[in-house]
């Protein structure tokens, strides 16, 4: 594993690193032994997975549209990636009841079966969409809007499109978290599908706009009005090319 990489903003909240050379199962075992409570966000290629721990036990996992053990096993079969730890981040989801040891053994059993061809390989990365180039052009233009600190485009499964930068990776994880929160609250109230979510903070604001296929996530500078940035984005998206 490479040396921990610290983001200046998030330095106090956790750490980030690569998993090359150290299997994800090792990271999970270490955190299980240390009775870790919090969230591990795992990034591989354009996919993101979330593993929630409570007192060293995995209580919930999400990957794209999968949750629970299926999400966990999907994440476990990724050959590498990057992870970030957020201690003390909790979830109300409790989709996993089994012990860490059982989950790891089952994950390795499934991986062995896949290697030997007894199981089909799970779905690969989402197919590239025909309008992706146009979408990425819009994202580039959104980043030029005054007040927009960064923007990233994700599929609704949480896969990031066309940007491998550290900023995009970081924003991807934050977006997944906000989307999950909004989805759960919407389900609780029967409010329907998430159209937009805004979190206004003193340091910066997080803006999530949903389309049929994508989530557009924009980090807005703290001194700017997220509502104004949103209306600029909507104008830009609606403008004829």
């Amino acid at each position: 594993m490479g040396p921990p990489i610290r983001s200046p903003k998030d330095a106090s909240e956790g750490f980030e690193g690569a998993i090359v050379g150290l299997g994800l199962s090792d990271v999970i075992q270490l955190n299980g032994q240390n009775r870790f409570s919090g969230c591990i966000t795992v990034h591989f290629d354009i996919s993101t997975g979330l593993l929630f721990f409570r007192d060293g036990e995995i209580i919930h996992a999400e990957q794209g549209s999968r949750i629970g053990e299926q999400a966990f096993y999907e994440i476990m079969q990724w050959p590498g990636g990057r992870f970030s730890l957020q201690p003390n981040v909790t979830t109300t989801g409790h989709t996993i009841k089994r012990s860490v040891s059982y989950l790891l053994m089952e994950a390795h059993r499934l991986m062995d079966e896949r290697r030997s061809g007894r199981l089909e390989t799970p779905e690969g990365a989402p197919e590239e969409e025909p309008r992706r180039d146009r979408a990425m052009t819009i994202v580039d233009r959104i980043r030029q809007i005054p007040g927009a600190a960064y923007a990233v485009l994700l599929t609704k499964d949480g896969a990031r499109l066309g940007d491998d930068s550290f900023e995009a990776e970081s924003l991807e994880g934050k977006t997944a978290y906000l989307a999950m929160l909004a989805k759960r609250l919407g389900q609780a109230f029967g409010a329907g599908e998430v159209l937009a979510a805004t979190v206004q903070g003193t340091d910066q604001h997080l803006l999530l706009l949903a389309t049929k296929q994508h989530h557009l996530s924009v980090l807005v500078k703290g001194e700017s009005q997220p509502g104004l940035v949103e209306s600029e984005i909507r104008k830009l998206v609606a403008a004829p090319r």
Partner: protein, 161 residues
Amino acid sequence: MQTLLENLNAVPGVVGSMICDVEGRVVGHAFPAEFDDAVLAGAAAVLADGSVGLQTVTGPIGLVDLRYGAARVVAKPLSHGLVLLLCEKSVNLQRLLIEVAVAGKRLERIATAVEVAAPAEPDAAAPAEPDAAAGDAAGAAPESPSGSGKPKKKTSWWPSV
């Protein structure tokens, strides 16, 4: 507290409102009967859990505004909890926030009093609270203990902004 919440509900487009404490427990609510205690407790817990992660991104949170196909959910932090409002899509957010600000100080007194009073018997049924504003701080207690459960570990909460 009920009066304050009902005043918020009087804003056109507001369906229901509730106050949650720092642990994500419902302190009081004015929601239509179809939203039972379990639904409200679940929503409060989701928001409380999610807030910790979100504020690592944004810093202390001033407002959460979630827009859905059929509704809008607005949450405004207090110094010891938050007020959550379920609204119709068409709600005038600016007007709503003004009403929340007007009620905010009194709501914060209630939340503070509850946090001081609650830990002794978190699951005990609380008596109905009188509407008198003067009794807000002294008489406040959790109204919906069903969603409380064991206190969760939490390292921080939304400071008021």
